[in-house]
Amino acid sequence: MQTAARAMSITATPAVSLDGVGKVFRSADGEKKVHALDGIDLTIAEQEFLCLLGGSGCGKSTLLRMIAGFETPTTGQVAVRGEPVRGPGPDRGVVFQDYGLFPWLTVAENIGFGPRRRGLPGADVDAAVQRFLSLVGLERFATTFPAQLSGGMQQRVAIARVLANDPAVLLMDEPFGALDSLTRETMQHELQQICDELRTTVVFVTHSVEEAVYLADRVVVMGGGPSVGTPGHVELVLPVALEHPRDITSPEFNELKRELLAVIHGTSTAALR
């Protein structure tokens, strides 16, 4: 009975939990308080792909940075697998818009950096490198340097490098924002395939409704923000139950898009008033 209850609570431990999380910054001149976020309650289940969707300034990046441990919440608590977040850690890998690769390391060395730093034996490092190289389809570019690759390829390396570190959760802040739209679609498709295969937990920040509906198991629409006069907050949580790969031209897909757009436009027209 007791063991069963414990087993239940173990399996039910969310990958990420945000409990009454708020963040207040000081303005650049140190004079005013900037209420970036307030009262965020969210739990992200293991293996879930969650998109944070919202216009700029509503606190998406701040929320992600608090999960990453780069910022401390002013109120509330952030926990990853039940452990309160106290700073950055290898259990959370971050993919930025501008890749952030080691420019002097080859593609293979970039991917092997995390495993090597964690002290894995050489053979295991090599195996991890091979596995993630082929996962992102860059086997032929193992000895290439990042500057010799296109933006999409560099972002593949960044994703592979973080995944090779075996994080509990993958944090992505508008990772495809700098790519052209065709590359962006390809990358979305590949990311979705990879996450389905590895069952990775992902928190993905975007301001593209289509991207969110294409990728997410759940879309969290955020609104508000200091420029609007209210702290950033959650407007709506919308599950997306469509099969992968999703057809962006299907009626169901567009119905969800419409629903999200209505909420977002509601918030942004409120901002204009």
Partner: protein, 352 residues
């Protein structure tokens, strides 16, 4: 696709390294550096004391703070200060070798622009019109950075953040000054000690120490990784201060250790160094100049007893006496052992 890896400049390398570690959850990103905003007034330095000791009735002072106040009251011009500094270069540099690159022309031009602004009542900041020198591991836009080495040459197009902050506070950059090769050493053997030319000036900010103590500019921006500000300051009788790690951004500085490099001020007196430091640090830190003349009441003093290199003889007795003096004065000094701080920064890569 282009061939070969892109050549990475030193300080860009540091940035790329830390960004990549941040992505792997292995490093806390540094807060963005903000533009400086100056709020406090200069101390009244109408009667500066030459050695910068505290006068019974007033704040600390020094040549830099005095010159800044004199510029404000119109007693001297920036052009005059620059000419004085250039005279000092002419007189001393042949023997001492402090200057790596003299920027006479641009310094004269910048100084007259400062004077024009001053005449119109436009004050750029607390260093308005003050000539400074910059250690040759720190980028000055359009001027070669050589890091004291034949093997390194770069002509940066932008100022290092520290230099940009000094300029936006009104400073005039007079010269790049010499350093131990790649700042990797404490002797600066290519240069001479201004007090005794048979001796080294100390390093690696050796050029800064010579420049400050001979009047080639009123202050200098140097770096300290393993005592590179403190050693030459001690050997030349100037004031060098290594501030808290990260308080002055290292963007645009040729790195020695990505996790131990500090950009640091050097000047003739505590007040001068404090003013310079206030300009270089982020503006959200409380100004140290306000504290410079304030006595020791309320300060916490501590003395590392273990694992510190034991000074011998006279120095040790002096240290002990000063520490005892602090303890019996109004500084509260918990007699607790000081342990080196544990940092979340990654270890220095091997070979550095």
């Amino acid at each position: 696709m282009t061939g070969g890896p892109r050549r990475i400049r030193g300080s860009q390398g540091r940035e790329a390294f830390t960004t990549a570690l941040v992505a792997l959850g292995d490093y806390l990103p540094q807060p963005p550096s903000r533009p400086p905003a100056f709020t406090y007034a200069l101390p009244d330095a109408a009667e500066p004391t030459r050695d910068g000791r505290r006068r019974a009735d007033g704040p600390l002072s020094g040549p830099l703070t005095a010159a800044a106040a004199d510029l404000r009251s119109g007693r001297i011009s920036s052009v005059e200060l620059v000419e004085q500094a250039l005279l000092a270069v002419e007189k001393f540099d042949g023997e001492l070798n402090a200057v790596a690159e003299l920027l006479a022309e641009s310094a004269r031009r910048d100084a007259s622009a400062c004077d024009v602004d001053a005449a119109a009542g436009r004050w750029r900041g607390p260093l308005h019109g003050i000539p400074l020198t910059v250690k040759d591991v720190i980028d000055v836009a359009g001027v070669p950075t050589r890091a004291g080495s034949e093997a390194y040459l770069d002509v940066p197009t932008v100022d290092a953040t520290a230099v940009a902050r000094a300029r936006s506070a009104g400073a005039v950059i007079l010269a790049k000054v010499t350093t131990h090769e790649f700042a990797l050493g404490v002797t600066s053997p290519q240069s001479r000690n201004p007090h005794d030319i048979l001796r080294i000036p100390g390093g690696s900010s050796g050029g800064s120490a010579i420049a400050v103590s001979t009047g080639m500019g009123l202050g200098s921006i140097g770096t300290d990784t393993r005592a590179s500000i403190r050693v030459p300051a001690a050997l030349s009788g100037t004031v060098g201060f290594k501030p808290t790690f990260g308080s002055v951004p290292t963007a645009g500085v040729v790195p020695l250790s990505w996790t131990m490099d500090h950009v640091a001020p050097m000047a003739s007196t505590v007040a001068d160094a404090a003013l310079l430091l206030d300009v270089l640090t982020a503006p959200d830190r409380p100004p140290v100049l306000d504290a410079a003349g304030a006595g020791v009441r309320g300060l916490r003093a501590a003395c590392p007893r273990r694992r510190s290199p034991a000074p011998s003889g006279r120095s040790r007795r002096r240290c002990t006496r000063h520490y005892a003096g602090l303890r019996s004065s109004d500084a509260s000094s918990p007699n607790a052992p000081v342990r080196p701080p544990r940092t979340s920064t990654p270890p220095t890569p091997p070979g550095w």
